[in-house]
Amino acid sequence: MATRPTTGKSAARTTAAARPAPGSVAGSWWQSLLRRADDALGWAMARAGSAWRALIRRAGGRLSFATLIVSVLGLGDAAYLTYQHFSSATTFAGCSGGGTVNCEAVTTSPWSYLFGSHLLPVSVLGLAFFAFMTAVNSPWGWRLPWPAAHWARLIAVIGGIALVLYLIWAELFRISAICLYCTGVHILTFILFALIVSRAAFSGLRPVGEDG
């Protein structure tokens, strides 16, 4: 196991008041402990930093990695909304009913189904959307050699943002209530839209690694 060379910095970090008298047994024990702690911290930070850089490299760069993070967050939010839909729960953590912010009013309204059809719950559609996004925004997804996959990602996110605008319209003009968890999904979809459109515009619809 590689260890970082010990420097004099660790000793300098202790204040004079806290430091035991130099030359004493306690003092050398204290300095040794501090050096070890400093070495361990430096080693852990270096490992974490290189792991983080490797992760971003594997994901195909910062932008691609960001799309994966946003997709996973959206997947979690959409999964919670889907669970709430099918469990017919009447309470949402941190989104109690009664005023303009009212998750229950939104998720039990006819607008919680696609175009009020009572066939496809919007939460299920959101879950499917983010599951697809997590797959295509994974390191493997970004490296897929088929252009169709990269077109599908772009088309899906454009469709997603269009649906988000429709749902915001429904919340503002039909239900007169806002659901915080739905708003979370809307914001994440918007961020995903901005990231994917930016990448498509600047790097084209190509797998990562081919765009230099």
Binding site: T90, S109, W169, F190, F193, A201
Partner: protein, 291 residues
Amino acid sequence: MGKAERNRARTARNRIAAHQAAAARAEQRRRILIVTGSIGLVLVIFVALLITRALIKPGQQLGGGPISAAVARQITHVPASTLASVGIGSLPAANLPIKPISGRTLTSGGKPEMLYIGAEYCPFCAATRWSMAVALSRFGTFGPLQGIHSSAKDLYPNTPTLTFYRQRYSSPYLAFTPVENLDVQKKLLQVLTKSQNNLWVTYGTSQGSHGYPFVDFGNKAAIYGPLYSPQVLHGLTWAQVANKLKNPTDPVARAVDGEANYITASICKMTGNKPSSVCAAAPITAIESRL
């Protein structure tokens, strides 16, 4: 190659390089325009929605009035076959704000008492009243019905409904005690008695608060919230709602009649399954067994 020739070649190379740089800059501008344009378009639509919503004034409060005899008859005479066909309709089979309770039997005039606490402004009460009217009609007779609309400034504004303020009702099986606590403007309309308030707090409390609507079925069962969304009634008139109640496939009937069956089953629990012509009917026994 002479000096002049070399200069010409260098100039040509410089011109080509300048052209390429200009083309690259133009391409970069085009890409930036695509990105900012598409993100900007989404933001502009979003801001336009917010501004439009802020500029829209709350809808004018729609008024009330007597329900015509023909419309009242449609509300109070929903065919038993329709109710049987609807079953629980669009309502879920579980996790509804309805529960069995076991307090001292609530009675009035020697009959089991059904206590309703609601408010005229409340859109969820508006939805519940339709179902109560359909269900109670199976056990007794209503006096003239009065139509109102829920508050124009609340959720599901101007939901068409009935009011039970001073509503007359007679039944050989139960006593119906409606209390419309607040009017459409949220002003006090009817004061609760201390015992009514105690029942509301005891059996109507959910997640730390008690709200409208609350229905106590003789302390045998209680409804402590909305069973379906008032959205299904949006934009309809009293006559349109009444007319839809007999069609078992209509979304209005599936919501209103579905809740009416839940209420009927709760009343049967309270009356000891009297009358059997109602309480032994197809969906009621099944729903009652689940309560």
